[in-house]
């Protein structure tokens, strides 16, 4: 479980995150949603330690990440996996070497065991047969799946995904969503996904946090969105006329 308490972050005197308080629960896909520039990525970068909060606490199972020493943070990060928007695979390494990288770096297993674990991870994301290819030789969706395999190689307790569906077609996005959801439940991880994708919000959002201009505007589950009276949330989720009409139709039917 990750608990965020009174988190503030400002850049050059400009507040980007204002008094964020929330809990990201174990075994659930926690979604952070919001408009571009609302502070979602800044929140995630604070959570993983790429940014230092101006004030506040980030508790990983009651361990305050903000107060940790540099060495403690390094050890803490070995319990984290992260999938970047761009996949961030190492260009000079093959798919298998990318997945093996965290194992090579931090595991004391033999080469055969490390290789086997990497192959198991690739199998889990349905990428068997692509292990000898380089990142530049595979599609965007496959790159995201390699990034997922690399992120889960060390069985992390916390999984962070920064816009995992960015640049993918709707069908591939659903595959990635399903994969993240099932992995979260399978390994009982605390998964936090930063997304714009409304399919993800409605499909796998078990705990959704809506950020508006740096503040937590709304928190709930996907089923509550449809009936929400929060105008900022509904304006963001049902941005197009088509979605507005669909929502109106659903609400009329419910009545």
């Amino acid at each position: 479980m990750i608990e965020v308490k009174n988190l503030y972050k400002s850049f050059d005197g400009r507040d980007v995150l204002i008094d964020i308080n929330t809990v990201f629960e174990d075994g659930k896909t926690n979604l952070i949603i919001g408009q571009s520039g609302s502070g979602k990525t800044v929140l995630m970068k604070n959570l993983v330690g790429l940014f230092e909060p101006t004030s506040g606490q980030i508790l990983y199972d009651d361990r305050d990440f903000v107060q940790m020493t540099k060495e403690e943070k390094v050890h803490m990060r070995r319990e984290m996996g992260m999938i970047f928007q761009s996949a961030a695979l190492f260009d000079s390494l093959t798919v298998l070497e990318n997945v093996m990288f965290p194992l090579d770096m931090f595991s004391n297993k033999t080469l055969r065991e490390r290789r086997q674990r990497a192959m198991d991870c690739l199998d889990r994301v349905n990428l068997m047969g692509a292990e000898d290819k380089y990142p530049g030789e595979i599609s965007g969706g496959m790159q995201k799946r390699v990034a997922i395999a690399r992120a889960i190689a060390l069985n992390p307790k916390y999984l962070f995904c920064d816009e995992p569906n960015s640049g993918l077609d709707p069908k591939t996005s659903l595959v990635i969503d399903d994969l993240l959801h099932s992995i979260t439940q399978e390994f009982n991880m605390t998964t936090i996904i930063n997304t714009h994708d409304m399919n993800s919000v409605m499909g796998i959002g078990e705990n959704i946090i809506f950020i508006y201009e740096g503040q937590k505007e709304w928190q709930g589950v996907s089923s509550q969105i449809m009936n929400s009276t929060n105008k900022r949330l509904t304006d963001f989720i049902f941005a197009s006329d088509l979605l507005k009409e669909m929502r109106a139709a659903v609400m009329t039917t419910d009545k």
Binding site: G49, R77, D104
Partner: protein, 234 residues
């Protein structure tokens, strides 16, 4: 601060060793071809210039070989060759690390708990420090081969005179001086572009700018330090 993070104990020596060997091959071994090619022709040109401009009936017949050797050993193979390598290797390092920065590969390393500066930069610096003395020796040797080329193929000078000059008043310290200088330059060539690449912000345009700045800065630093090192070691 970056150097402090760079010169720390690697998390896993097997990974460090793998990177170290890879960097030696990529930055050093892959540069041997260009070093030999340039050294051959510059050795030949120096020999021709010395013969045409210095050699006269009043000068000893070994003067062409002697001056060619001194120029090659004292300046060309250490300083000028490093200046050339600053362009090739420096831009390679800055663009590689800069691209890793803008594509979030360095962030990915940090999230994994890897000291990215140590993992990426230390093998490059140590790899260059290891391979540079070899490049300097190869360069000097190939320069001399180039000088002999002018004697045997173009008949610019007499091979025996050249041999006499190359052996005249030879001081082994000059070889060490050349190697010591090259070690300083190897550090500059690898550390300065690494810094520029590592601190890139933005996109591909900034990677290009960082690459150019890295080459310019390391070249200027090499030239400045050459003055001090020459004075210090002579």
């Amino acid at each position: 601060m970056l150097m402090g993070r760079t010169f720390s104990v690697p998390e896993r020596f097997r990974m460090f060793w793998k990177q170290y060997v890879k960097e030696m091959a990529q930055l050093g071994i892959d540069s041997i071809g260009i070093v030999l090619l340039i050294s051959f022709f510059i050795g030949a040109v120096i020999c021709i210039q010395m013969k045409l401009n210095i050699q006269s009936p009043w000068m000893p017949r070994w003067v062409t070989g002697y001056t060619t050797r001194e120029i090659l050993l004292l300046e060309f193979s250490s300083s000028i060759m490093c200046l050339i390598l600053a362009g090739k290797v420096g831009s390679n390092i800055a663009s590689e690390i800069g691209t890793m920065r803008v594509t979030q590969q360095i962030d990915a390393l940090e999230i994994m708990g890897v000291n990215s500066a140590c993992y990426l930069i230390l093998p490059k610096i140590l790899g260059m420090l290891t391979i540079m003395p070899l490049l300097v020796i190869f360069s000097s040797a190939m320069g001399i081969v180039g000088a002999y080329g002018t004697a045997y193929i173009a008949h610019i000078t007499v091979p025996d005179d050249l041999t006499l000059g190359l052996q005249h008043s030879f001081q082994p310290w000059f070889v060490w001086m050349s190697i010591i200088k090259s070690l300083f330059f190897a550090f500059i060539i690898s550390a300065v572009p690494s810094y520029f690449g590592y601190t890139v912000e933005g996109g591909s345009v900034n990677v290009g700018k960082a690459s150019t700045n890295a080459v310019v800065s390391s070249s200027v630093l090499i030239l400045c330090s050459d003055v001090f090192l020459t004075q210090l070691l002579s």
